[in-house]
Symmetry: C2
Subunit: 258 residues, 2 copies
């Protein structure tokens, strides 16, 4: 390793063999010494899960030319913890997660394994960013997303990030030339309305597939959903202090104590 | 069911047979019609995971006298979605989650399955609260925690909750008489410093157990950690808008676009 160069940890939630992480490794390779620690299988929708009741595997594998790679049985958040404690033995200068196959805008940030890895890094005081391409196909063209990822990773290495802040970057599924720019946004107020597709197994027992329909409740033009719809890259600063500070004064008027 | 009474959904992350959920069912039973939809096995540390790549099971079971109960193969967040769509066919008036065996104060809110169920309800615009007792033992005395849970559930039914806000309630592990009161708090700035206990399996392959050491970085006396240490019940209003609004103006000074 070249010790003058920054150390960049790459991880994701689609698993270490996904096209998205390959694109991200390629994108950030010119910027530093790259180490990959990623899940050995897909972990979509894992939220900020960690593995406490089972032991974890962590094994070196040869996968990407000239890059140190490890696969783990753990979640994306586990991968960041393992990378710092058992692979790097120090904090990296930057953690990049993705490129996720599919959007993580709006409320999806809370369900996203991609973002959980970035948030975990931020809790550890490491600058971090999650990248997602608004296309679920593993055959999607990652050219534009890769260029954007390199540009933003470079900006973070140059500028750092505000304390306790991590970036959620979503890239619209259009050619690079059609992207109008990068827009700093807030998380749109939206939710998934679930339907459950009810089926019967060969033994006569019911089971259900979750089918989520995205429902945007937010007409603002400063949201990530608006930006993506208008061919901007959305960049939402995300924090892990989940306190609803504005609600404290309201609750203090309750008859809490006799 | 008595249609004048509110419908209260009870769930948790320790699984439907845990002593904590039994205590919570008992605590809220006088307040409404109780329906239980909870995981069929422990789901601690699941964060806001949802099940997207596998089908889900949902089966009625007879477990608690006079209470409709369903167990699911899903995560706590899945249980809330399934309860609304496939059991109640409407939104309940309140979702209570817990009583968790172990603290969910401070940064634990982000890893907590207990809180993910409550947060999911809040996304669905249902008033919700997660309860946790600061004692990991399944033999812990739940008497004080049950009294507190009933009191707070009643207050929420009477007062509602501020829009987009859910409550994270932690109860110190002391007798009821020694509890000094309920304190509205902010989430303490803290983190876990992980160590990984490295072992070798009978086949000679390494594996790791995660051991988290809690590290409080916050000297404030308005935090949940402070409250619990001083024998108060901590009540933190939590929101699912994770936007770091204060960081938007900083990032707008970056050279994002050429």
């Amino acid at each position: 390793m070249n010790s003058d160069k920054p150390t960049i940890l790459v991880t994701n939630d689609d698993g270490i063999t996904s096209p998205g992480i390959a694109a991200l490794i390629h994108a950030v390779k010119p910027l530093g010494n790259i180490v990959v620690v990623a899940p050995d299988s897909p972990q979509s929708g894992m939220g900020h899960a960690i593995t406490v009741a089972k032991p974890l595997r962590l094994d070196p594998i040869k996968l990407y030319e000239g890059v140190q790679c490890f696969q783990s049985s753990g979640t994306p958040a586990d991968c960041v913890k393992l990378a710092v404690a058992k692979v790097l033995h120090k904090k990296p200068d930057l953690v990049v997660s993705g490129i996720n196959h599919g959007s993580n805008s709006s409320i999806s940030v809370i369900y996203s394994g991609t973002m959980s890895a970035a948030v975990e890094a931020s809790i550890e005081n490491i600058p971090a960013v999650g990248f997602s391409l608004v296309n679920y196909s593993h055959e999607a063209d990652m050219t534009a997303a890769s260029k954007i990822a390199r540009h933003i990773a470079k900006l973070i290495l140059e500028n750092g990030l505000p304390q306790g802040t991590v970036l959620n970057v979503n890239i619209p599924d259009v050619p690079y030339e059609e992207i109008k720019g990068i827009k700093i946004c807030r998380q749109a107020n939206a939710k998934y309305e679930e339907e459950f597709d009810e089926r019967t197994d060969p033994n006569g027992r019911k089971y259900y597939w979750m089918v989520g329909n995205f429902l945007n409740l937010d007409k603002g033009d400063d949201t990530d959903v608006w930006a993506l719809k208008n061919n901007f890259v959305s960049m939402v600063p995300v924090q892990y202090d989940m306190t609803a500070h504005h609600a404290i004064s309201i609750l203090n008027n309750w008859k809490l104590n006799a």
